[in-house]
């Protein structure tokens, strides 16, 4: 699914990649808040286009566009459902305002997907794991995250090997109706699950043997430190939030309907 494509990390190093993930996350939350405050197409469009320089700086345009393409499907769905519901519940009438509201909702969704996509596209799992470790999140969760990321390629390879092993015993995964095909995956799923359980047991042994749980105050080999760029982004974030509050309370932005 291409929405997930946009969320996967790519080893491209840019100034955006080197920013502290925690700061980037705060920025994304700020955009999120701003998008929720505003129910106005023009402001939402401003929020949308404001992200583009980041995308270009990070050189992740291709993947970002792909994530939007994937989101487009869901966005259209939201739009249609919204319009249809309004149509049917207001006695089969549809005003321009209704349509504009639907567009606003959809645009809000797109802004959210877009900013999260930029976050994940410019943050490596290592970096993210480190940020989790150094935040207030309990260590167990950060550990679960990094371990999961570490073993995803291993599990994927294993799934392929298991499929090969069963195909070599005459299992045909492509044949048959839907029900039969689902049943055919049992000889693939069971070894995969059993293997995952065995693996976790071995991991647990290794963890215990390396002093897991020795103290509550773990130290860390790496330290995430804030640099110039991070402070820059923090200022931008503060600026966005301040501007949003100001515009919301003191400036009236015309709706499209009013402009027409």
């Amino acid at each position: 699914m291409s929405v997930f494509d946009g969320l996967r990390f790519r080893k491209v190093y840019s100034p955006i990649h080197n920013l502290d993930p925690r700061v980037k996350f705060v920025y994304v939350i700020a955009i999120f808040v701003a998008a929720i405050i505003f129910s106005n197409i023009i402001t939402l469009l401003v929020l949308f286009f404001m992200q583009i320089p980041f995308v270009l700086l990070a050189r992740v345009q291709k993947q970002w566009v792909r994530s939007l393409r994937g989101a487009a499907f869901l966005a259209t769905f939201i739009f249609i459902v919204n319009v249809a519901t309004t149509y049917f519940t207001s006695n089969y009438s549809l005003t321009g305002v209704n349509v504009e509201n639907a567009v606003t909702l959809t645009l809000r969704f797109v802004v959210l997907v877009e900013s999260f996509s930029v976050f994940f596209l410019t943050t490596s799992p290592d970096h993210l794991g480190l940020a989790l470790e150094q935040s207030k999140v309990p260590y167990e969760f950060a550990f679960a995250f990094t371990t999961a990321v570490r073993f995803v390629p291993v599990l994927a390879e294993e799934a392929q090997t298991i499929m090969d092993a069963q195909k070599a015993r005459g299992l045909e995964l492509e044949k048959g109706n839907l029900l039969k095909r689902i049943r055919n995956y049992v000889p693939v799923l069971i070894p995969l699950i059993v293997s995952a359980i065995r693996r976790s047991l071995e991991l647990a042994e290794a963890m215990e043997s390396r002093a897991w749980g020795a103290t509550k105050r773990r130290s860390n080999l790496y330290a995430l430190e804030l640099h110039k760029g991070d402070f820059g982004l923090l200022s931008i974030t503060a600026g966005i939030l301040a501007a949003s509050v100001y515009v919301h309370f003191f400036v009236t932005i015309p709706t499209i309907m009013q402009l027409l």
Partner: protein, 283 residues
């Protein structure tokens, strides 16, 4: 006092009908390089896990007898306390590495103990250098070979500077060349750092030469213990299914044919070759 002392140990896994270890008593002195071998299912893997408390704390089950490792009674202490004194390296390299970079994996034990960063950095670098993988420190575990992964596992245990390192069939998944490299690393740690090594292995042709204290187990009991040369020369050991090094077997065959070889039983190809050169060179 011995660094590992086990008295009349009997252990049964939960739900098992028979004990995996049956009345075992062992003494290992500081600085020794001990080799434990025996057919599959003999209890050597379980025995390894008693050294750092995984048995009985992690596996539960019924344990009788006394264990003292580095002066500590493992039954009264948590596994994480034992980790500072005993490092355990397991068979499968892949399932021992869980961080996203090699050096973070090596630091894991130190991080768990809350060691301050500069001290941790020094110990991690030292461990990486001792195992010859300093250049790989920023790579991810998935990118390196099995042999390199096992060296990371050894480094991550070494970083905590334990007195004892226990390795449970560490080269099972490795090719002979990588296996030899691992044994060389372990041997050097034993000779140069004075770390007590307990190695569980089947491949006696590669490892018998490193030890002078061999323990052979079968069905949960210790059958033979002592000088590997005597033990591996005996017919009983061979009949038990232990893989006697081929050089030793050849020596036995030649001796049976009254070949004029020195008395010392060879454990490696070098030793046998030297004996043959002596016996066959024109005087």
């Amino acid at each position: 006092m011995a660094i590992i002392e086990i008295k009349n140990l009997t252990y049964t896994y939960p739900g098992a009908s028979k004990p995996s270890i049956d009345d075992v008593s062992i003494k290992i002195e500081k600085g020794e390089f001990v080799l434990i071998t025996g057919p599959s299912g003999c209890g050597k893997t379980t025995l390894c896990r008693t050294f750092n408390g995984l048995v009985p704390h992690f596996y539960q089950g019924e344990l009788k007898g006394e264990i003292s490792v580095a002066g500590i009674d493992t039954l009264q202490h948590h596994t994480y306390e034992m980790a500072k004194h005993v490092g355990l390296v397991f068979q499968n390299p892949e399932n021992q590495l869980f961080a996203l970079s090699i050096e973070k994996d090596v630091a894991f034990g130190l991080e768990n103990n809350g060691v301050p960063r500069e001290e941790m950095r020094r110990k991690v670098d030292w461990a990486l250098n001792q195992t010859g993988i300093y250049d790989l420190r920023e790579r991810s575990p998935h990118e390196i070979s099995g042999g390199q992964q096992q060296r990371v596992a050894i480094a991550s245990v070494l970083a905590m500077q334990p007195e004892i390192i226990v390795l449970d069939e560490p080269t099972s998944f490795l090719d002979p060349l990588s296996a030899e490299k691992i044994f060389e690393v372990i041997y050097r740690l034993n000779k140069e750092q004075g770390i007590t090594v307990v190695l569980v292995e089947h491949r006696l042709d590669l490892t018998a030469k490193y030890t002078d204290h061999l323990i052979v187990m079968d069905k949960g009991r210790v059958r033979f213990e002592g000088d590997p040369r005597q033990i591996l020369n005996s017919e009983e050991t061979r009949l038990m299914g232990v893989g006697i090094p081929k050089a030793t077997l050849l020596f036995q065959m030649l001796k049976k044919n009254r070949f004029n070889l020195a008395e010392e039983i060879p454990l490696s190809s070098e030793e046998l070759a030297n004996q043959l050169l002596e016996a066959l060179s024109p005087k």
